[in-house]
């Protein structure tokens, strides 16, 4: 029995006994459906839109001239095409690194200041990046994912992301594929999407960012990857790092064709 199966079996023993696996799945589906009406993510979207339009930073300029890949100020549909190569930066960027880029270049923030609070915590420590991400992604709702792999650096990012997906490491010898490479896997009662199928990849990627009930916060895809690394007992995934962007490129491109449906709400 491989290491992961052993771990899953052990976790399974700790579960409370329930009538049948199918009825549990049905009830949890009902829970998720009931959450859809009235998503607190909308509060982040509203704040993000205000931040996008507000004159801020040392240069007192808004983000409305920020080019997210479809031209300066074009927000609609931009997230569905990210990550992508940006000539002015000469690198592939995901939404969050692009937002930081615009905050630095348009608004005059230092890179450190722009990135200083990527994951918010409560009313006293709200993250502007999470709000801006919520707003920009909401403007891609209903749009089909179409991440292109045209520029050599886009292709390279995808290939590195793929390697990272299968890379086993850390104290538990986990890879992303360990948890996300087979059907019908779960940790306790949390089912794990199989990211190696088109359906699984689409469903997973198109529902981030999401209001995470367990966090009481809206969390982005950078957060999702950061938290996966943490749970795998990997070294910390640096915000906006090449590794984060490469993995995002791999997963986003694999979700192509899926209709973007965020920001969503999850447990």
């Amino acid at each position: 029995m491989n290491r992961f199966a052993w771990l899953a079996a052990f976790a399974g023993l700790a579960c409370a006994p329930l009538a049948s696996a199918q009825s549990t799945t049905d009830e949890i589906a009902k829970y998720r459906a009931a959450l859809q009406d009235g998503n607190p993510a909308e509060l982040w979207e509203a704040r993000g839109e205000a931040l996008w339009k507000e004159k801020r930073g040392p240069k007192q300029v808004s983000l409305e001239a920020c080019d997210l890949g479809k031209g300066p100020g074009v927000v609609k549909g931009a997230y569905a095409e990210l990550p992508r190569y940006f000539a002015d930066a000469d690198r592939v960027m995901d939404l969050e690194t692009r937002l930081v880029w615009c905050m630095v270049r348009l608004q005059g923030y230092s890179d450190a200041d722009a990135k200083k609070n990527p994951f918010g915590n409560g009313a006293d420590k709200r993250s502007d990046l999470e709000a801006l991400t919520a707003y920009v992604t909401s403007e891609s709702r209903g749009v089909k994912m179409s991440v292109a792999l045209v520029h050599p650096k886009e292709v390279e990012a995808y290939r590195i992301g793929e390697k990272l997906f299968y890379f086993r490491g850390g104290t538990h010898d986990f890879a992303c594929a360990t948890c996300h490479g087979e059907n019908d896997k779960r940790i306790r009662l949390q089912d794990l999407p199989n990211l190696m199928t088109t359906e699984g990849a689409q469903k997973a990627y198109t529902t981030w960012p999401a209001y995470r009930v367990s966090q009481g916060e809206l969390r982005t895809f950078e957060w999702r990857l950061y938290d996966c690394f943490r749970q795998q007992r990997f070294p910390e995934l640096v915000y906006g790092s090449d590794a984060a962007i490469a993995l995002t490129t791999y997963l986003a491109h694999n979700a192509n064709g899926g209709v973007y449906d965020g920001p969503a709400i999850k447990r």
Partner: protein, 150 residues
């Protein structure tokens, strides 16, 4: 802002329509005693009633039987009892039982949807005040991860 057991004069006058809603509200009472109880009887008493009678005319809707996380549990309650004046939601195994009480004026449907926190798997009670008397229905909601803190 005042908080204390029972109604303040302002709230009473407000309820009678003698004060503009806003002014009455600014001094609205918060029933501290009711938010400090640990069983159904005490809660009903603190809300001004005696024993609550089981009623099939109180229904839960869009209320799942399993919550993936107790921090956010959707609950919908509707009352078919005539002259429903208030709907309260109680969670038996929470640190205190009463989550909320909604006053339903004439013209407002006796149906409320909201989201509560549950510390653990527990009975959830919908307590309804109708025509001066109290009625109750219960539903067990399983919680896979508690939601009150820590």
């Amino acid at each position: 802002m005042r908080s204390g057991g029972g109604l303040t004069l302002a709230a009473l006058l407000g309820a009678a329509g003698w004060l503009e809603p806003d002014r009455a509200f600014a001094q609205a009472a918060w029933n501290k005693a009711a938010f400090d109880t640990h069983d159904l009887r005490d809660t009903t008493k603190a809300l001004g009633g005696g024993d609550a009678v089981q009623s099939k005319d109180i229904e839960f809707f869009q209320t799942p039987e399993i919550a993936e996380n107790g921090a956010v549990v959707p609950v919908g309650v509707t009352s078919k009892l005539p002259k429903t004046e208030a709907i309260a939601i109680l969670v038996e195994k929470n640190p205190n039982m009463l989550a909320a009480v909604f006053d339903i004026p004439a013209g407002t449907e006796p149906t409320i949807t909201t989201r509560i926190k549950m510390a653990q798997t527990s009975n959830v009670y919908a307590l309804v005040k109708a025509d001066g008397r109290f009625y109750v229905a219960a539903k067990e909601i399983k919680v896979t991860l508690g939601g009150c803190g820590g």
